[in-house]
């Protein structure tokens, strides 16, 4: 064994242990002095507070753990919405920045410079209070397509009322599994016999036919419930029935996507510019159509440059969603590290769970993006 090699590692380990030991000992002593007990038993107690918006059934008679799940799911929801929209806007703006059209290119550049240079919290406040000022009261809202109502109290959309929803979901899962097998089979067939299978058509067909069968044979039934205005008092109204997206969710998702999209746009621009011009010209010279050049030559190479920095942006967006607490969107920080912490007083326990949760979320996104990055990386044979 090379002692010189191990020594720095050992020293690092000792320092880490001492630092952690000191902090936990310090916390223990201080908590003992003040008569604070430590434990996670409170998670099963009744939470006795309500949350305005929840993806799962929840009210104050459920446990603190359930409240934690509510917050977690809301965080995931706004992150997923944010990531999807940030990616769409980011890709469009990134490509627009490469446009030869002066107006489009300048507009995209101004958008990027403007939104990425203003603090996110400020943007969240701006969108929230701008939305609250600009949106109409429920009774004055103009319906969109007759069924959507965007009001100060939220975005009311028609909801599906399902019978046997689980059977429908199983049929969709079955369709997806079938599609995966069809693709594998098609790939093999092409490699072995050189015969191409119309995978896309078969996939779409499967996705339509299987759920349709569940309606015809499985007893699945869905009806649409349209929001109806209801009077609460002389001057106050709301909508009943249908689904309600709170304005907090909408403004938070909007602020997060517009902010993160600027960074993704720059990643996309860098990625496309990183593919050398010769590649495009070579591809064109062997007779590929412009579409094929983009799809088969430029994008696969650009993606390799785009994915790693974009992963960072996805992580940032997820973590930034914790700013929700400022505008009353019931995310993990507001529900769990906010109300639950206040009601139980278990600061160390709750903050540690919250930190671990964000860590897990971030690592999950990282692992997925690393897997995707590996998949599209150059495979040296």
């Amino acid at each position: 064994m090379n002692f010189k090699k191990i020594l720095p590692q050992l020293l690092t380990l000792v320092v880490v242990i001492i630092v952690f030991g000191f902090f936990s000992y310090n916390a223990q002593v201080n908590m003992e002095n003040r008569g604070i007990t430590f434990g996670y038993g409170f998670l099963t107690q009744e939470s006795s507070f309500d949350v305005q918006f929840s993806l799962i059934e929840y009210d104050g008679s459920h446990s603190y753990f359930r409240a934690y799940l509510v917050g977690l799911l809301n965080t995931i929801l706004v992150s997923v919405i944010g990531i999807i929209f940030a990616t769409i806007i980011g890709v469009i703006v990134g490509i627009a920045r490469l446009s030869s059209n002066y107006l489009i290119e300048r507009t995209a550049a101004i958008y990027v410079e403007f939104f990425r240079n203003i603090p996110l919290l400020l943007q969240i406040f701006f969108w929230y209070f701008a939305a609250l000022r600009a949106l109409p009261l429920p009774e004055k809202a103009e319906p969109m397509f007759g069924v959507f109502f965007l009001t100060i109290k939220g975005f009311f959309v028609p909801a599906f009322v399902w019978n046997n929803l689980d059977i429908f979901i199983y049929s969709v899962i079955a369709a997806i599994v079938a599609i995966v097998f069809v693709r594998l089979y098609a790939k093999k067939k092409q490699e072995n016999q050189g015969i191409q299978t119309p995978v896309l058509l078969i996939s779409i067909g499967l996705l339509i036919i299987l759920p349709l069968l569940s309606f015809l044979l499985g007893g699945v039934d869905a009806s649409i419930q349209i929001p109806v205005i209801e009077q609460l008092s002389k001057t106050s109204f709301t909508y009943k029935g249908g689904l309600k997206l709170p304005p907090e969710l909408i403004s938070l998702a909007l602020a997060l996507s517009l902010y993160t999209a600027t960074f993704i746009a720059e990643c996309v621009r860098a990625g496309v510019q990183g593919v050398s011009k010769g590649q495009k010209e070579a591809a064109a010279s062997i007779g590929l159509t412009p579409n094929q050049v983009l799809k088969l030559v430029v994008m696969p190479q650009a993606l390799r440059i785009i994915i790693p920095p974009t992963t960072n942006q996805y992580l940032n967006l997820t973590k930034n969603s914790s700013l929700a607490a400022a505008i009353a969107y019931p995310d993990l920080v507001l529900v769990f590290a906010g109300t639950a912490l206040m009601q139980t007083g278990r600061a160390i326990e709750i903050v540690s769970i919250t930190m671990l949760t964000y860590l897990t979320l971030s690592i999950t996104i990282s692992i997925f993006m690393n897997w995707y990055n590996k998949k599209i990386a150059i495979k040296e044979k």
């Binding site: 008569g35 000022r133 100060i152 609460l232 002389k234 009943k240 505008i327 906010g338 109300t339």
Partner: protein, 346 residues
């Protein structure tokens, strides 16, 4: 024989010295917080981020309010100067952690005294300086004149991390009404959201509603419903485990209330030293040795009354004259129909 006498006297003297030493400084010695405060030269006080009448800073950074006066009273008692207070504005969410982690020594931030807070999380409530209750504010033109007029689907704005959230649930549940709680971390955002029409009602302690109403764009368009849905005894809090400091804060507050009861004010406190009433003389330090028990000198209570005033003066200055709650309601002395009643200082 002579030797024995000498030895005896020396033993007695030693005991005497030891005894006076212990009585004088036992309290001070036992209380780390008191010692630290005297060393630092200021009282570290946690207050709200701006609640007119309770703790609010003006443009120049001068804090006023009944909660602020509790800390000032402690500073007057401990340090001899009511202005030697360092105020730390805290959100509802931060307040207990700030206290238990030693950032502040008194939390005087319209905090409701509850069993779980008192017993569970390392805090001790020392008394009540304002008896409050939760109420609802609505728009006047809404036609809602009582809490019984609320209908299912009502949205209620409030502050995060308060007893308000729990009371609201109890209340709406008991009425069988499904409601939408919209909770913000800062009071200013609650006001802004309610003002914009995001919520049908704004619910918090009634004193808070009265104070925040002033911040609305058209205060006259809003009113507080008559019903009170909860008991909210608000008072100063200290860390558990320092009973001397706890006593100092408790009796500083009690002194203010008792001073009002006996008619001792900042103006007449000095002349009260020659009062005929022994209770009054004790209160201004002209009789008894009450200060020593707290590890303080005997003028501590006199300084509180002279520099901060009695409870009635503080209430009038901060809450009545500012138009927040001119009527003292339950916060009147027990001798005048209220429920302010403190143990005697003797």
């Amino acid at each position: 024989m002579f030797k024995l006498v000498k030895r005896l006297t020396s033993v007695v003297a030693m005991f005497a010295v030891l005894f006076t030493f212990t009585t004088e400084t036992m309290a001070a010695k036992k209380s780390k917080t008191l010692k630290n405060t005297q060393k630092k030269g200021f009282v570290r006080c946690g207050v709200s981020q701006g609640l007119p009448g309770f703790s609010n800073a003006d443009a120049a950074g001068n804090w006023t309010g009944v909660d602020v006066d509790v800390c000032r009273a402690v500073a007057a008692a401990v340090l001899g100067d009511a202005s030697k207070v360092k105020f730390t504005p805290l959100s509802a969410k931060e307040r207990f952690t700030a206290l238990t982690s030693n950032e502040i020594d008194i939390l005087s931030r319209n905090t409701t005294w509850t069993l779980s807070r008192d017993a569970d999380i390392g805090l001790t409530f020392v008394g009540v300086n304002f008896y409050d209750g939760q109420g609802f504010m609505v728009r006047k033109n809404s036609g809602i004149s009582s809490v019984n007029d609320f209908k299912a689907g009502v949205s209620a704005c409030t502050n995060l991390g308060t007893t308000t959230e729990l009371n609201m649930r109890d209340f709406f549940n008991s009425k069988g009404i499904k409601y939408e709680p919209v909770t913000f971390e800062k009071a200013d955002e609650v006001v802004a959201a309610y003002d914009a029409g995001r919520c049908d009602t704004y619910t918090t302690d009634k004193s808070g509603l009265a104070a925040q109403r002033i911040k609305l764009s058209n205060p006259d368009d809003h009113m507080v419903l008559p019903e009170t849905i909860s008991k909210e005894p608000l008072g100063p809090v200290v860390r558990q485990g320092d009973s001397v400091w706890e006593d100092i804060v408790r009796w500083s507050l009690n002194t203010m209330i008792e001073a009002e009861e006996y008619g001792v004010t900042s103006a007449n406190a000095d002349s009260m030293k020659t009062s005929d009433n022994p209770a009054v003389k004790r209160l201004v330090g002209a009789e008894g040795e009450l200060g020593a028990a707290l590890g303080l000198d005997n003028e501590w209570s006199l300084r509180i009354i002279k520099q901060v005033g009695n409870y009635g003066e503080s209430y009038k200055r901060n809450i009545a004259d500012t138009g927040i709650l001119p009527d003292r309601g339950p916060n009147q002395l027990w001798t005048k129909g209220g429920i302010l009643y403190v143990p005697p200082a003797r």
